[in-house]
């Protein structure tokens, strides 16, 4: 973690190097230090603050929010990074762990559309509408559809059979690649999971979406994070950006504090919202764990990363309403691997209309594909630039099919790749969806290895995405709070 980092100039096109001491005025000791301000880290910090703990939240980037973030470009363009769409459960989570103003700003998307060689339609993305489509578009018997949704509702985390998602689909809809595509594609974009991942994690995430459709924040990610920062400050949480933590210090099997910018800050607990591998093998160091645990973390597989293309319409330009979320592919059939196609035959378009940011009369479109680190990491600078240009060009061509003439209205184009995600988040291999399922147990049991150490990063697919990340922050904050309470009892 100590090697020199490369920074771009200025804060608009990279991470600005800090000229002032980012830790100025920070106390010598806290009850808990949260490393990383993704939704999991921020929610954990807020819950601990509400519980009356003294909390320091440090973030390496200048923006808070992790991948729930945004950026601005010349010409008045504001781009949201995370795919905007989460289950209704986010409303309850925000009301309970943030505040009712944040919860009330959550609104349902007006439209979700699929368009691929197997099927094309608009949907509300609810169990009711999916059942209707499965019957009328896909021609399935009602009893078969009902059996599928009945099993989905009966999902039990503790009754896992180890079945894969592919086997689960095949059991309910044998040989129906088109149905598998409908059920899998949106979830793959939401959390990076594939047909080979456990049916259990699929069922939990898909079941959450199916309850009432897809929701987003009115006002954009910048407004959301601003509101969350204000709430954290109300709870007395000390917030610091541009802080690169170098070490989580451990003595006698117990966390004693963190090292950053040549300073040691003491604490009784650390909640790491950094990546699982970065936390165990980097910030703490494998030598502080039992060999089995360290080796286990080493062998945890990562989910894929992403490519995104950001397209900003010039001021005064507009497009008619198409849909909010468009899952599109030119591939004749579905495979999970195809979602990582280097040449982007499959992608999601997120359309942002003036309704997203009231008062700012602007249109932007963000295209997202899943992507593999190894496809992008080995390119030379010239190859990399050419690949990014090609990605933008093919994206515009595809978009023209849905919005004819849009290319001439677009003023700003920009591409992000796994290398971009790695640079901004410091996640290994730029993973935008954390670890595969097996990472969950290491994240949940880390406190058994080192007392006072907790992890709330994206792990195990279900603890990823907006709702999973926020709820996991609460689960981990509860464990951390119990540890802090137990320490006080010992002192008393």
């Amino acid at each position: 973690m100590s090697e020199q980092r490369k920074y771009y100039k200025g804060s608009s096109d990279g991470k600005a190097p800090s000229s002032a001491d980012p830790l100025e005025g920070v106390a010598e000791r806290y009850d808990a230090i949260v490393i990383g301000s993704g939704l999991g880290g921020m929610t954990a910090a807020n819950v601990l603050g509400k519980a009356g703990r003294r909390v320091l939240l440090v973030e390496q980037h200048y923006n808070f929010g992790g991948l729930a973030t945004w950026f601005k470009r010349r010409g008045g363009h504001v781009f949201d990074i995370s795919l905007h769409g989460f289950p209704i459960g986010m409303k309850k989570t925000c009301r309970k762990y943030w505040n009712s103003a944040i919860a009330d700003s959550i609104v349902q998307l007006d439209g979700v559309r699929f368009d691929n060689p197997q099927f094309c339609f608009d949907t509300t993305f609810t169990a009711q509408d999916f059942a209707h489509k499965l019957e009328t578009v896909f021609g399935l018997e009602r009893a078969r559809i009902d059996a599928f949704f009945a099993e989905l509702r009966a999902t039990d985390f503790y009754g896992d059979s180890g079945e894969t998602t592919a086997a689960f689909f095949e059991r309910h809809f044998p040989g129906r690649n088109d149905v598998h595509r409908l059920l899998m594609e949106p979830i793959s974009y939401a959390n990076g999971s594939t047909l080979d991942d456990p049916a259990l994690s699929y069922r939990i995430v898909f079941g959450n979406f199916m309850s009432q459709g897809v929701y987003t924040f009115a006002g954009g990610t910048d407004q959301l994070v601003k509101a969350m920062k204000a709430e954290l400050e109300r709870q007395g949480v000390e917030l610091r950006n541009k802080v690169q933590v170098e070490k989580i210090r451990v003595e006698g099997g117990r966390v004693t504090g963190i090292e950053a910018h040549g300073r040691f800050i003491a604490c009784d607990a650390v909640v790491s919202n950094a990546s699982l591998k970065g936390t165990v093998l980097g910030l703490v160091g494998a030598e502080h764990f039992t060999p089995e645990f360290a080796a286990g973390v080493q062998s945890v597989r990562l989910n894929t990363s992403s490519c995104q293309v950001y397209l900003g319409l010039a001021k005064g330009e507009s497009i008619p309403f198409v849909t909010d979320l468009l899952f599109t592919s030119t591939r004749p059939t579905f495979t999970s691997e195809a979602l990582c196609d280097f040449d982007g035959e499959s992608r999601t378009f997120s359309f942002y209309y003036p309704k997203t940011r009231a008062g700012l009369d602007r249109y932007t479109i963000v295209s997202s594909t899943n992507a593999r680190w190894e496809d992008w990491s080995k390119l030379s600078d010239a190859q990399y630039d050419a690949a990014k240009r090609r990605l933008i060009e093919t994206t515009l061509l595809e978009l023209e099919r849905y919005v004819p003439g849009v290319t001439h209205k677009i003023e700003h184009t920009e591409a992000a790749t796994p290398r971009t995600f790695q640079f901004y988040t410091q996640a290994p291999e730029g993973t935008s969806f954390g670890t595969k399922f097996e990472g969950l147990k290491y994240s949940m049991n880390i406190h058994d290895e080192i007392r006072g150490l907790f992890h709330a990063g994206s792990v195990g697919i279900i603890m990823s995405g907006w709702l999973g990340a926020a709820n996991y922050g609460v689960i981990v904050a509860n464990k951390c709070d119990a540890w802090l309470h137990a320490l006080l009892e010992v002192h008393a």
Binding site: V47, A51, G52, T93, K96, N471, A482, H485, A486, E489
Partner: protein, 89 residues
């Protein structure tokens, strides 16, 4: 706290977690999840509130003891002995 106070304490915590639910008509011997909309995150909130308000620790393996109001009374009685009821916090 006596039996009535413990039930009141739990009902007051539930009111803050699920403000739309009517806790007045809750039966003591029926599972809470069968009477009102409470998910696993809500039970976590009950545990966190018990710690915050009364300093009571409920380890994960004991969460199942809180399934009914009667269960709460049986499990929490020894832990809440000598503690003062706090409502509307």
């Amino acid at each position: 706290m006596n039996r009535e106070e413990i039930i009141l304490a739990i009902k007051d915590i539930i009111t803050t977690i699920a403000p739309d639910e009517d806790v007045g008509s809750l039966k003591n011997d029926v599972r809470l999840r069968e009477q009102i909309e409470l998910d696993s995150m809500d039970f976590l909130d009950i545990v966190m509130e018990l710690r915050k308000r009364y300093g009571v620790q409920v380890p994960e393996e004991d969460y199942k003891e809180l399934a009914t109001l009667d269960g709460c009374v049986a499990y929490l009685s020894p832990k809440l002995q000598g503690k003062v009821l706090k409502v509307g916090v």
